[in-house]
């Protein structure tokens, strides 16, 4: 796939602009740092020369005063640079955090297909990874390396001009030596690069090992099946491999380092030979000897540094581009007018000739790093990536439709298509006759109250969780009303839960935790608060016990009155409340009709019902009507 690639300079500008927008004062700090890092080392080279020349001049007080002055300047400069550097670090660290937060926010804002599409996921994943590694994160490097590069370049010119005043050919010669030095450096990097894949693979294993070891969900299995020995043996193997790999790599590094030391030996030998020669001839004084010698040894560092930093920048630029590409994804908040008929209630829904496949969008159902074994999903390699082909469906205004099908029948995909989270490859989806592809996403999303299978309770205050607004913007009365309707008000009042009580224990010890049934009711309250025109329930009850499930469905039916509703389930519970049942298989409506019609048809639905009901109906002898009545009264009691 194509990784995004922005020009280097434009990326540097991009990051610095973001940084200075956040912290304008850092511009001054950076100027001080750069200036200090150029001048202070240079002063360090001059200093021995000054001392020596003053000592040889023999004037006690003037000499000492001059030395004190020069040393004082260095002292002050060093202190200031060290002060500014330590301070800047924390602001840049906060900048990284903010950037990290912005990357998350961007993922919540960009078009949903980018969140699930494989190609974009790789880029986004890399953006996350590149920000994760603390002082190695992309923004540190993208901000820090250009500064280092600037310092190196400035020093290069400074030292060249100093050495150039002595002998211009000296600069040329040193440049040659530095280039040789850089050649070795490149060679070292290339050698190391050869191991890159091996390192990545071993890193992957080490990270995985860490992850599974820390995974307490696995802890029961580990104990029952005595898996610890297996895990530890795996660890020994992985760590052993890594150690050998590192040694192999370090040996190569050593060879390169050795060559560099050898080159340094030659350079220093030459520097001594030439400078001593010049000194004994009287061309330069011993003090100058010291300064020039310092300049020569420093020189190649700057040349290597310049080239190395440039190479590093090029490398970081890939990460930086990924992050920027992620940050520049189109968002859902596009402007646009929504026609008035869209809001007609109850709404009418039509799928017209819709086709959708996972072709070229692999990894949607099985995103990397996330393997919930229970999740509805396709088995890769078996290749039924075409989910819908010329799919047609019409839901009349106010109709309650139950979508039934076994796992993997494509039910959730249908919901995502309807809500506009996915876009069909061909065909149209119409709501009240309006093609949803023409709508701004926000207007479309606004129509629905959806409870997803994996709906999230956010670690935010209760009010925010209902309104999805800031607490100040939450209509408290409406929120309580929604809770009341969902049958939660009493429990919440009893437990002293307020609108500003944080939910879940993610951040605060006293966070509100809800049981499975309560959580479902809460999600219902969220849907009620939003009061969307179309109600969609995507298997919200799959993990509930039968009593809780039946209670919840009663509630759903209550709120579905006067709304077009879609119940998705693999349970039969939902069918009881629906006007029409659609039995889905392999992306086609296999059977449709009311319960009676489908039973009369004697097809897959009837078969499913048959099997599931065999157990219950076999016991039917008498009084099933009264039985079911008594259950309902019991159920209501239990709800309290």
């Amino acid at each position: 796939m194509n990784m995004p690639n922005y020009p280097l300079l434009s990326n540097i500008r991009y990051y610095y602009r973001l940084l200075y927008r956040e912290f304008p004062r850092l511009a001054v700090s950076h100027a001080i740092t750069i200036l200090g890092e150029i001048l202070l080392p240079f002063m360090g080279i001059l200093m021995p020369g000054i001392v020596l020349s003053q000592v040889s001049s023999g004037e006690l007080f003037r000499g000492l005063a001059l030395i004190a002055l020069a040393g004082g300047v260095m002292l002050l400069g060093g202190a200031i640079v060290s002060w500014v550097n330590s301070k800047t670090y924390f602001f840049e660290n906060m900048f990284r955090n903010i950037l990290f937060g912005e990357v998350v926010l961007k993922e919540t804002r960009c078009l949903y297909r980018y969140v699930e599409y494989d190609e974009q996921k790789k880029i986004t994943k890399r953006a996350y990874q590149s920000l994760d590694s603390g002082d190695w994160s992309v923004c540190y490097r993208m901000l820090g390396i250009p500064r280092e590069l600037a310092v190196n370049a400035a020093c290069f010119f400074l030292y060249s001009s100093v050495l150039g005043t002595l002998k211009p050919w000296l600069v040329a010669l040193l440049l040659g030596l530095s280039l040789a030095n850089y050649g070795i450096f490149r060679m070292k990097n290339r050698w190391q690069l050869a191991f890159r894949d091996e390192f990545a693979q071993s890193g992957r294993k080490i990270n995985y090992l860490y992850r599974i070891m820390k995974d307490t969900q696995m802890a029961k299995d580990v104990r029952i099946f005595a898996m610890n020995r297996w895990l530890m043996a795996f660890r020994e193997k992985v760590f052993g491999q890594r150690l050998r790999l590192e040694k192999k790599n370090q040996r190569r590094v050593f060879v390169a380092d050795f060559l560099q030391l050898l080159l340094n030996l030659c350079r220093n030998g030459f520097a001594y030979a030439y400078l001593i020669y010049a000194c004994t001839r009287g061309d330069i004084s011993p003090a100058e000897f010291l300064v020039y010698f310092g300049a020569i040894t420093g020189f190649s560092g700057f040349v290597t540094g310049m080239m190395d930093n440039y190479a590093r920048l090029k490398l970081v630029n890939e990460d930086a581009s990924c992050m920027r590409a992620h940050m520049e994804l189109p968002e859902t908040g596009e402007e646009g007018e929504a026609p008035a008929e869209l809001y007609r209630t109850p709404a009418e829904i039509e799928f017209r000739d819709v086709s959708f496949s996972y072709e070229g969008k692999t990894g949607e159902e099985h995103p990397m790093g996330e393997e919930h074994p229970m999740e509805e999903g396709h088995s890769m390699g078996e290749g039924h990536s075409m989910v819908y082909e010329h799919f047609n469906l019409r839901i009349a205004p106010g109709e309650k439709v139950a979508l039934l099908g076994v796992n993997g029948a494509g039910k959730s995909t249908l919901v995502k298509l309807l809500c506009g989270l996915y876009e069909p490859d061909a065909g149209k989806i119409l709501i009240n006759g309006v093609d949803i592809a023409t709508l701004p996403k926000r207007a479309l999303y606004d129509l629905f109250s959806v409870v997803f299978q994996e709906a999230t309770i956010f670690p935010y205050p209760v009010g925010c969780n209902l309104s999805f607004r800031k607490l100040e913007e939450t209509d408290e009365e409406r929120a309580w009303a929604a809770l009341r309707e969902a049958g939660l008000e009493e429990i919440f009042r009893e437990r002293g839960i307020k609108m500003d009580s944080y939910m879940t224990k993610t951040a605060f010890e006293d966070g509100v935790e809800l049981s499975g049934g309560q959580a479902q009711r809460f999600l219902l309250a969220r849907a009620l608060y939003k009061n969307g025109n179309i109600l969609v329930l995507d298997e919200p009850t799959s993990a509930l016990d039968p009593i809780a499930e039946s209670e919840i469905y009663e509630e759903y039916v209550k709120i579905s009155r006067g709304r077009t509703s879609l119940f998705i389930s693999h349970r039969l519970a939902s069918t009881k409340f629906s006007d029409r049942i659609l039995f889905l298989e392999n992306g086609r409506v296999l059977e449709e009709g009311t319960h009676e019609e489908l039973m009369a048809l004697g097809g897959s639905y009837a078969h499913m019902f048959e099997i599931q009901s065999r157990y219950y109906t076999a016991q039917e002898r008498d009084g099933c009507q009264s039985g079911s009545n008594s259950t309902e009264s019991e159920v209501t009691q239990h709800a309290g």
Partner: protein, 627 residues
């Protein structure tokens, strides 16, 4: 738990922490510290020799000696520094760097692995939770065992360099001592005082800075402010990085964009205005940096001034001025830096202490030594006798005065609503927890008296949240690195994966998932279940338990899995847990749990006859759809 990082502790404690840390590292690698010391010694000698020889060169230059005479020290200098730095580089690359990384890896992984090794009941205990929180905090801001090396090196090298520098600077030290020059003594005294002030100031600045940096923000700020401005961005970062993006659907459909912004970046920016933590820490770090920079500059200046003054007074040849200045500065630096480095090492040790404490947590459960009798006829009988249990750190009892006998060779079903204690009972049975009251007996003997590993041999469980690893299929089935291939194939076939197995590229050696191998296969939820079931069969234990591994499947599939499983287990004792009554209809023995108690037991007809019973209620809730 170690004291808080910011509280003062006696130095003895500090030394104990440092000792523990060094012992821990030494246990992982016996030779690291001696090799590291050797390398630092080489470096110090190299630096000292460089000073001596370059001084000699300079002296000869100043005297105007002939080139040939100067050539000799140049030769020595070049050769010595080349050989010594080659040797030190060799030690670093060949041994020290790989060893360091290895130690860090073991340390990190030991921490993680402890969660698979400690008593299961400890994992969720308040003590371990608190300790884990503490570890997370201690590891903030780049701590960890790696810092040991970052401080160990400068300390040891400081000592080596101090010795070498004193040796080099010995002549000038003697001159100063013998000079009886009042001014010089006064100057030195003044220098010492200023340096002392700077050092104390830097130490204090460092203490304040670190206290502010490491202090838990929840302790620093009033609770309501802390809560108001809490930013959840790390939480979301972690979730997004792990590939969990399901929450994003909710944000889109409920227009939660502004709410998300508010609780992440918004609060981060906002809180910086109200409680300018970054500015404060930055300011403190800046102050520390300034003091350190000033001290360093002052020492260089002092070295030059003192030596220049003596050289100007004619105490020694001017060629020596650089050598002496260098070594005097180096002495001052070593002495001044030592305090800072030592406190850094102590702090590192304190931050590592919480992790080491976790590693040393010993098991809490009593584990007997009684061997479990191996019976070919699988005649084991288990009885729960008045068992009460609540999870650590909770008030509510998950099981109350619970008594039950498990009959041998029979199929038993446990039904009940969510939270009725079904899974808890399994966990107690498998000794993941010990009950607070009552006892569980195996053939009449308290299960605590048996050897834990042998006792666990009796059970095979497929939990609701079972986990497979990204490792070869065969190893997953065997739950071990040593696989009986024949057996693994057989159980996979029994579990209904025979056909799939045929199609796998590397057969039983195919890696599952792609976490660690690109050629691993992705498997569906249903296939994962079958593998988990195969794993349970492979173990061939006398008790097999299915704890709703199929809860999110459709009832038809669940029924098929349950009844299919029933056919596989043969004459073993099998226990099925489900909240769907239909799944358990083949069982003659059904136990109904409600609110931590066994409320009913019997076969289907008996239970249904009791119209006030829980079973009837559960049954009706499901049956209504079929009427």
């Amino acid at each position: 738990m170690p004291d808080d990082l910011t509280s003062k502790i006696p130095w003895k404690e500090n030394i104990r922490y440092i000792k523990n840390m060094f012992f821990y590292i030494h246990k992982i690698d016996k030779t690291y510290f001696s090799l590291a010391t050797g390398r630092l010694l080489l470096e110090a000698v190299e630096a000292a020799l460089a000073l001596v020889f370059s001084a000699e060169i300079l002296e000869l230059l100043c005297e105007g000696a002939p080139v040939e005479t100067i050539g000799k020290p140049v030769f020595y200098l070049l050769v010595c520094s080349f050989l010594l730095s080659t040797a030190s580089r060799f030690l670093l690359n060949e041994f020290l760097l790989p060893k360091r990384n290895h130690i860090c890896r073991v340390y990190d992984n030991d921490f993680a692995a402890k969660f698979q090794q400690m008593d299961y009941s400890l994992i969720e205990s308040p003590y371990i939770k608190k300790l884990t929180d503490r570890i997370a905090r201690d590891n903030n801001w780049g701590a960890g065992i790696y810092n040991t090396f970052e401080y160990f090196d400068p300390i040891v090298s400081g000592i080596c360099r101090l010795v070498c520098s004193v040796a080099v600077a010995f002549p000038i030290l003697r001159i100063i001592a013998a000079s009886r020059n009042m001014w010089m003594y006064l100057g030195l005294a003044a220098l010492a005082v200023i340096l002392w002030i700077l050092t104390v100031a830097a130490a204090r600045a460092n203490a304040v800075y670190e206290e502010t940096l490491l202090k838990d923000p929840s302790e620093t700020y009033p609770e309501e402010i802390y809560r108001k401005y809490y930013s959840f961005f790390w939480y979301w970062v972690r979730r997004c990085m792990s590939g969990d993006y399901h929450f994003i659907k909710d944000i889109h459909l409920y227009d939660g964009y502004d709410m998300m912004e508010h609780y992440t970046v918004g609060n981060m920016r906002e809180s910086e205005k109200v409680i300018p933590r970054v500015s404060i820490v930055g300011k403190l770090a800046g102050r520390l940096g300034f003091l350190q920079g000033a001290a360093e500059g002052l020492m260089a200046l002092a070295g030059y001034l003192i030596c220049a003054a003596y050289a100007l007074l004619g105490a020694f040849p001017i060629g020596n001025v650089i050598k002496f200045a260098g070594s005097v500065t180096s002495i001052l630096n070593c002495v001044q830096g030592m305090g800072y480095q030592c406190s850094g090492l102590a702090l590192t040790a304190r931050r590592v202490a919480s992790t080491l404490e976790l590693l040393n947590v010993s098991d809490e459960m009593y584990k007997g030594k009684l061997p479990v009798e191996k019976r070919l006829d699988n005649q084991y009988e288990i009885e729960f006798r008045h068992v009460s249990f609540r999870y650590p750190g909770t008030e509510r009892y998950a099981l109350i005065d619970f008594s039950m006998k498990l009959r041998i060779g029979e199929r038993m079903a446990i039904v009940g609503m969510n939270g009725s204690g079904k899974t808890t009972m399994i966990k107690l049975l498998c000794r993941l927890y010990d009950p607070q009251e009552g006892e569980i007996l195996l053939n009449g003997v308290d299960i605590r008296k048996f050897r834990q590993d042998e006792y666990l041999q009796l059970f095979s469980v497929v939990f609701q949240d079972f986990k497979l690893l990204s490792m070869p299929l065969g190893e997953n089935v065997a739950a071990s690195g040593e696989v009986d291939e024949e057996k693994a194939r057989r159980v996979l076939g029994q579990a209904g994966l025979g056909e799939r197995l045929e199609k796998l590229p590397a057969g039983i050696d195919t890696c599952l998932y792609q976490d660690i191998a690109d050629d691993g296969v992705e498997i569906s939820g249903g296939e994962a279940q079958k593998i988990a079931i195969a794993r349970a069969l492979y173990k061939d234990a006398p008790f097999v338990l299915l704890d709703e591994p199929t809860a999110s499947l459709d009832p038809l599939s669940e029924y098929e899995i349950y009844s299919g499983f029933d056919a596989m287990v043969g004459d073993k004792t099998a226990i099925y847990i489900s909240h769907r009554l239909s799944s358990c209809r083949f069982c003659n023995d059904i136990a109904v749990f409600h609110q931590g108690r066994l409320v009913q037991r019997g076969n289907h007809e008996e239970l249904l006859a009791d119209e006030k019973g829980k079973y009837y209620e559960l049954w009706q809730a499901q049956a209504q759809y079929y009427q």
